[in-house]
């Protein structure tokens, strides 16, 4: 988007003035650092079992304590950041690619194509997020990659709708007609004129969806349908820790806090982005309600 220099610069300046957005941004940077260098930063190996140190509360040696197998919880939380980031990026990537493509064609060509595509999206949209994700994982089999595909499919309709709504207004603009008048092809018009002009709501939707995707992965892992042990994942750790809530609160607390902070950070940044780029979009709570 060569044409959006001034817009994006203005947006960045406005974001920098928003303390909540800056806080969210800092958390996200830390998360990315943890995701990239988690296993290097981790004080202990994630699968270093030490039965002599089972279920130790937080201490200087183990700031987040140890689990029922004596593994260092801090190390596992750090390493699991990579999984969360990966799930977020891949599943939202799938949803973005599929949703934008479908919404673009539906909104641009309208007519029966629009009807068929958007009714399919409505059907997907009608399912509660987790139910649909669980159903897809049940068909494809549990595991990290199927969880990512499932979450991607679940979030596709949101992107299709946001894209289609944008396309419907942009395609009525005179500059689109002017592009048609120069002889530009439909694909060229979609790529060069329509997409850049609907980028703002899509960027907002992407940042918000990253939060929901990470949350969904945690839920799937909690249900045992996502990341498989002994690979660490926040949702899975939460699940494993649930039996020790009264005896060893730190097993559930730290992975839960990691999920909470990550989702909060994405939502803060997403909300701020929306305020800056696209004031007409839904708020997070509205989007969550719609997402079921």
């Amino acid at each position: 988007m060569s044409g959006s220099d001034s817009t994006s610069r203005r947006a960045l300046v406005a974001l920098g003035r928003d303390p909540l957005a800056v806080t969210g941004g800092v958390v996200l940077v830390l998360l990315v650092v943890a995701g990239l260098a988690g296993s290097w930063l981790a004080p202990a190996g994630i699968n270093e079992v030490d039965v002599d140190r089972m279920l130790q509360p937080p201490s200087w040696a183990h700031p987040f304590g140890t689990d029922e197998l004596g593994r260092d919880v801090l190390s596992r939380v750090l390493v699991a950041a990579r999984v969360s980031l990966q799930v977020g990026a891949v599943s939202v990537g799938i949803a973005l690619l599929a949703g934008v493509t479908l919404g673009l064609f539906a909104g641009y060509y309208q007519g029966w194509l629009d009807n068929v595509l958007m009714r399919c999206m409505d059907v997907l949209f009608a399912f509660p997020v987790l139910l649909l994700a669980v159903a897809i994982v049940a068909v494809l089999g549990p595991g990290l990659s199927t969880a990512m595909v499932a979450i991607g499919v679940v979030y596709t309709p949101i992107f299709a709708r946001v894209t289609r709504a944008g396309v419907l207004s942009v395609r009525e603009q005179v500059f689109v007609r002017a592009a048609v008048a120069t002889g530009a092809s439909d694909l060229r018009i979609m790529r060069r004129h329509v997409l850049p002009n609907i980028a703002a709501p899509l960027i907002v939707q992407t940042s918000l969806s990253l939060a929901f995707a990470i949350l969904s992965e945690a839920a799937l892992s909690f249900l045992g349908l996502g990341v498989q042990p002994p690979e660490p994942a926040w949702g899975r750790m939460l699940y494993d820790g649930r039996g020790f809530v009264t005896d060893a609160w730190w097993l559930g607390f730290f992975p839960g806090a990691a999920i909470f902070l990550t989702v909060l950070a994405f939502n803060l940044v997403g909300d701020a982005l929306r305020d800056v780029l696209d004031p007409r979009q839904l708020t997070v709570s509205e989007a969550r309600r719609n997402a079921g």
């Binding site: 988007m1 005179v174 592009a179 048609v180 120069t182 002889g183 530009a184 004129h193």
Partner: protein, 340 residues
Amino acid sequence: MTGESGATDVVAGLTDLAVWFPTPAGVVRAVDGVSLTVRRGETVGLVGESGSGKSTTGLALLRLVEPTAGTVQVAGQDVTRWSRRRLRRLRRRVAMVFQDPQASLDPRHTVGASIAEPLAVHRLAASGAARRDRVAELLDLVGLRRDLAERHPHELSGGQRQRVGIARALAGEPDLIVLDEPIASLDLSVQAQIMNLLRGLQRELGLTYLFIAHDLAAVEHMSDRVAVMYLGRIVESGTPAQIWREPAHPYTAALLSAVPVADPPVQRSRQRIILAGEVPSPIDPPTGCRFRTRCPQARPDCAQTDPVLVEIGSGHEAACLFAGEAVRAMRAQPVNASSP
């Protein structure tokens, strides 16, 4: 490339063109039987009130609206049934300048990118460097600084934006440029500059224009031939001299009398023909002559017979059963402009 008046080869033409739009209220007959030819190097002016179908007629030449009936010819070829793919080639031959230059330029594209769009679409530049050179050349042509290529539309003035729109239209070296109210949304002082630019470019490059406007003075100034439209039809056509000096259709006479004269005594003393009522709905046009419901000289025959364009002088045509006579009668028995 001056003195094109002798050239007679037809660049584009419409034959019995009809463009109807279905709406919930009924079928809107935006254009309903228009024939028009544009010859190389000339400017044909198309005037009429809003809703007369003049813009739709212009859009039809690029096949930006679907003809309901009739044919569209460009460069000797009937393009009425051309496929979408072939139409893209047609749109190199016929270019368009839009009324609102702000709305017709993509806000996310630089001026250079907008001007280069036809070059990219029709692969007219061999390399990025060739494209930049051509854009610079086009900016020179329309009187804009070359460094404006890096700017975005919102950084330009209205007149500059319209120059960009003109440069974009020139980029593909079209045979015909449809100018759809190119000055209507500009400041008065800028209007003159843009008209002079368009005339200068025409002289320099031998361009052919279809100039669509409701501003009669602009049309007179720009055009070699003029067609007056009313409710989807051409009611009169001829040279500006013929039409301004001896309008033959009552509608033309009324339209001309509405233009103020920059001479107060003349303006005060001259006759004004005030038309009664509103333009009828193009969903349900009047029977017979479409203008009869507002014509001060309407007679019983006018409700019966739908008048066709008849030559009343060399190249001067009017679609009125009482062409000439009605206007003379209007002028002899002036309609009382102030009567309630």
